[in-house]
Symmetry: C2
């Protein structure tokens, strides 16, 4: 499907060269679940002892694979990840739960593992049953292609999980501590979408570091809060959003078990770098996006308030359409601050577009030049900054503009 | 400005013939505040003894006229209403407060009234100062045109408060009780918009009934909750949203002072009819709207939960673009229910498009026909119904679809 959409103008020039992560083997397969002529199954097999952490959609109507992962995550252990594209296995009731279990059990049988060590994610059409006959036939074939993770297999994995993403998404970082170097690699899909999918975001991150599940969850939760939870394309929340972080332990470092241990901070920083880069790539593939927009809020009552205000700006259709038009329409930013429901005072509000201050203390800034603000907006990397003027809370979020392309993709397009 | 936009395809055939309301005199004037060649000031002078109730934007950055009205509303008394279009007097700081005070004081001088009995509303561009010299010169002229309310003066008033509304909005109803007949007439503007305005909604309702301010506020609050607070075009909240209800008492009925009094329920019903009709007209003038959409939620935990779920559906860009495409994409409705944050259970959810049941108990409904659902969606009056299946809470909201027209208006257009 992805071939039908032009590559986003905001896409990175190339897919990155992602390094091997010891303890991770990858395979992809064209199972024909929905798509023809492309891969739609991705398998990662993880070394014995791999720990896992995860965060999932806040939707109260989550997909069957999300419920499966939630149920098995308490063990903190993982041996494999199976992802299919083309069908989200969402809103499929008990049949969907059965399909998830069948997937895990079939793959467990093929790999000689326990089903409860196998994590699942599905993305694609919702409300249609995953074809169990296809799964039963095709899943056992997938392990035959297993190969160590390397630039080529990472790229193949990133491609297999795409739906209508217009480019494959990947990122890597390293963490040096205690004389060792840990590798962190992530792949993701999102924002490009196949209707009636819901811009599902999936992100899978792998490291060779040895870390307890509890410490990994702590790093993951913090990292997701600063990355995937700080991006928005259209304010909608998928039934299937999933972030899973796997640590194979192949690095053989001293086990990281908490903030006091060497490597905790370094690994967290590397994880942050990977999740933030993946989050930015998802925004860059926002449906119809022509501008990558950074919104920084300072001076709010506290950080959560700053985040709520920043997201209110980022989700405002009026702000997003103004950005699409390179229209220095800062009145719409005032509106969004006002509707955010967080403490604000009209007479303390300051607003910048790029380096140009539009508003100061609640009125138009002295010397404000709409021409300079517009010049900044004409670029495809846009910065908005709001100072609320009442406290120390700060937050940064990333979004894209709202264009005819979004309408074309979402109103014109369902196979 | 309104002439630049084609009339909404959902507009009523004609502006209604609005009856006189005893105790209300009207005048309009072309002051040239921003627009040329059209009226932009509207004055209503109200009989001595007129009571007033109001509701205002929840924005924490409200316009100066909103703050003015809030400050004087505690008296419960009103003698005049002054509305200007073309400039919202929002985000104008102390200068804006001064302009509001100047408006009230100038009109008070011209009419021989107290400024604190004069209600104000402004709609149009924000962040620009209301030109005080123009106000000082033009406001005193407005009363010279005063005439009793009648179909022609109502129409003129409804026109003067338009910004980019593509049609003038008005509604009337009567309440019979205790051998008398009360008249309720309302005019409104909204949804059509002049950038960088924010689709400000203004509604002014007038009745000849005699009712205490407290009882009138009670009816107004309830009525707004069921009408203006149940519509959404794009989820954005104006700095200036204002509803004011004036009761002149010219009917000379026994004063209505609470729910136990004759006329309270009847007047409330007439007020509801007027506010609901005005609310629907605002949706019908939604920017780029091609479909009028009714969303009914039943079976929620309670009515507030039903309302939150219904608004989540109504505000979802993915739902709204599917509606624009007449795409029976009920998976997006599931998504919106899931993200609403209210109690829901995937396996109890049922969804209808028109009379066609798409989903039952969390899976595709037996015998669901996408053809029949699509046939319903191809019309310009669309019904969605969701039964959450867990309680007795119900709510109905109204919205429109999200089309290229919305992008054209909001991304392409600022004078």
């Amino acid at each position: 499907m992805s071939g039908e959409l032009a590559v986003s103008p905001l896409a990175p020039a190339d897919f990155p060269v992602l390094p091997a992560v010891d303890g991770v083997e990858l395979s992809t397969h064209a199972a024909g679940i929905r798509y023809r002529g492309r891969t739609d199954l991705m398998l990662a097999v993880l070394a014995e002892g791999t720990t896992v952490a995860g965060t999932f959609t806040s939707s109260l109507c989550p997909s069957a694979p999300v419920e499966w992962c939630r149920a098995i995550l308490s063990s903190g252990r993982a041996r494999a990840l199976v992802v299919n594209s083309g069908n989200a296995n969402a809103f499929t009731g008990r049949t969907g739960d059965e399909a998830a279990r069948l997937t895990a059990e079939t793959m467990a049988g093929a790999l000689g593992l326990d089903a409860t060590e196998i994590y699942l994610a599905s993305t694609g059409v919702i409300g249609e049953n995953l074809p169990q006959d296809v799964l039963a036939r095709e899943l056992p074939v997938v392990p035959s292609n297993l190969a160590p993770s390397d630039p080529a297999t990472w790229r193949a994995a990133a491609d297999a999980i795409r739906t209508t993403d217009t480019f494959a998404k990947g990122a890597a970082a390293t963490a040096a501590f205690d004389g060792v170097g840990a590798t962190v690699v992530g792949i993701a899909k999102g924002s490009g979408m196949i209707a009636p999918d819901m811009a599902t975001m999936l992100a899978f991150v792998f490291t060779d570091a040895a870390i307890t599940p509890e410490a990994l969850q702590q790093l993951t939760t913090a990292s997701v809060r600063r990355s995937f939870n700080r991006i928005t394309v259209d304010s909608d929340t998928s039934t299937s959003d999933t972030t899973l972080v796997f640590a194979t332990g192949a690095l053989d470092n001293d086990l990281i078990s908490g903030p006091g241990d060497p490597g905790f901070a370094e690994l967290g920083a590397a994880l942050d770098a990977v999740t933030l880069e993946l989050a930015h790539q998802i925004v860059r593939d926002g449906e119809g996006a022509t501008k990558f927009v950074t919104i920084e809020v300072t001076g709010a009552e506290h950080d959560e308030a700053a985040s709520t205000i920043a997201l209110a700006i980022a989700n405002s259709p009026l702000v997003k359409t103004a950005l699409a038009a390179s229209d220095a329409n800062w009145g719409r930013v005032v509106m969004a601050v006002g509707k955010a429901g967080q403490r604000a005072d009209r007479d303390r509000l300051s607003i910048w577009i790029g380096d140009e201050q539009c508003a100061a203390a609640g009125v138009v800034a002295d010397g404000y030049s709409e021409e300079r603000a517009t010049a900044h907006l004409l670029g495809d990397e846009v910065q908005l900054r709001v100072d609320v003027g009442i406290g120390d809370g700060t937050a940064t979020v990333w979004t894209c503009d709202l264009t005819h392309g979004y309408i074309n993709i979402n109103a014109g397009y369902r196979s």
